[in-house]
Symmetry: C2
Subunit: 276 residues, 2 copies
């Protein structure tokens, strides 16, 4: 295939931002990226809104923690990408035009910012705070594989994960901020089952980075995991702040065969589906 033996060392960072402490968060994110690099990571995935925290009272408060796509966060990640020859995917509280704020994920590599995606499925009070993305999440070609992006609740829509896989993503990164449910779902959170199901249904890797750290009374599911195309957990979940690392054999995601006689894409019976 020419694609054989493409290995990628990926890290998923379970991180605890401090609400509104943008400079401090950026500094601690940089430390986590350096730690991941030290463990061989070529791709580092950070949670949704890792620059700002999540539980804003209103849009004005989010705006105060936002920054543009050419701001200090992307600048920092570009420096780190160049220094450590890696790719960063992270959630950013993005300041757009006219004081609009977006729940955005960026892909940054040695070239600098290579893609930005604004969340298209907004969860709960996000609808009152963030502008809603109007462009589908992309599959981004990088030196570290073809990366599809889904932010948290996006990944609960199988159409998103299927679309990224049909778009030839090797891996889907899921920056996440998932509020915990009480009691927890056992033996595995729904968010982890969702990542497993998406990986297996599409034979794609999923690198999901959830946050941690109580914020204004909210706890988090801590559903940070790295899943292979068989639906096996290569890393995670973990409790508290953690840098999870796994080696991904990307060719496994490029061959959609499942056993000897099946193929999860070619076996679809599109003519029988009524999902419009």
């Amino acid at each position: 295939m020419g694609d054989e033996q493409v290995k990628l060392v990926a890290a998923a960072v379970q991180f605890a931002p401090l609400l509104g402490a943008v400079n401090d968060n950026r500094s601690r994110i940089a430390q986590a990226i350096v730690e991941a690099a030290g463990r061989g990571a070529e791709l580092v995935v950070l949670p949704e809104l890792c620059t700002s925290g999540y539980v804003f009272h209103d849009a004005a408060e989010a705006l105060a923690s936002s920054e543009p796509l050419d701001g200090p966060a992307v600048e920092s990640w570009t420096e780190l990408a160049r220094m450590h020859r890696l790719t960063v995917v992270a959630g950013l509280c993005e300041r757009g035009d006219s004081e609009a704020v977006y729940n955005t994920a960026v892909v940054v590599d040695e070239r600098g910012l290579v893609a930005a995606y604004r969340k298209t499925h907004l969860w709960d009070r996000e609808q009152e705070i963030f502008g809603r993305g109007s462009v589908p999440s992309p599959v981004v070609e990088t030196t570290h594989g073809r990366i599809g992006i889904a932010i948290c609740y996006d990944s609960f829509f199988p159409e998103v994960m299927r679309g990224l896989s049909l778009g030839r993503a090797d891996l889907i990164v899921v920056p996440m901020n998932s509020p915990a449910v009480v009691p927890p779902v056992e033996p595995q959170s729904v968010e982890v089952s969702m990542a497993v199901a998406s990986a297996a249904a599409n034979r794609v890797f999923v690198v999901q980075a959830d946050r941690t750290g109580r914020e204004r009374g909210v706890d988090w599911t801590e559903a940070t995991v790295i899943v292979d195309p068989d639906g096996r957990l290569l890393a995670g979940p973990a409790s508290g702040e953690a840098v999870l690392v796994a080696e991904l054999a990307l060719e496994q995601a490029r061959e959609k065969a499942y056993g000897e006689r099946n193929n999860v894409i070619l076996d679809r019976r599109v003519e029988l589906y009524d999902v419009g």
Copy 2:
């Protein structure tokens, strides 16, 4: 809503058929249905191909264990449905016209046979043994709720589960024969994660009945579970033969709201999906 407080007691039977022992299997299936009825079940779900076993050498062997839709299995389930006022969904090795054999699921209630569905996504050697269904799986209106059907590998296609949910299924039943993988996926099999993800993504109940009992060297995942629309396991998984019972509050599946501001169907951004 008029639909409030619709409770359904559902049973998922993890059953070990003996290959080719059609009469013995039918007798033991009847015992399991009677046991489920004794525990209050109004719906009893049995595994894929529970009448015949699974690991056939070839189509001729499957044909020898097949029976038509007006054969002794459906006759037995009709009697039991009338006697215990319940609905049975079970996998049947169906003899069709011209000696074709199908991997079929039937819905039987006090009226007798009310629906039959031939599996549309055939797994592995099933392709050499069974005819492939050409009609989408239906949502069947019964006195025990609106029942969508997916047989085993069908359920690995999110399009199937979404389509049944858009077709207003309250619950999706999944007769299954899932060969075990070695080592097992921990802490929860992919088949269970798939059921959880389908339930949560669609806010629908999933009643999945897998088989057990080594057959020609094949072991099984034993992924029998009953899952609610939050993705919580109400029953299962279990080891060995088992009758799992849970009460389903069907109105939970008729209201697709998720939290205060979301709805898993209305939140779809169909205009952004490219899944054809």
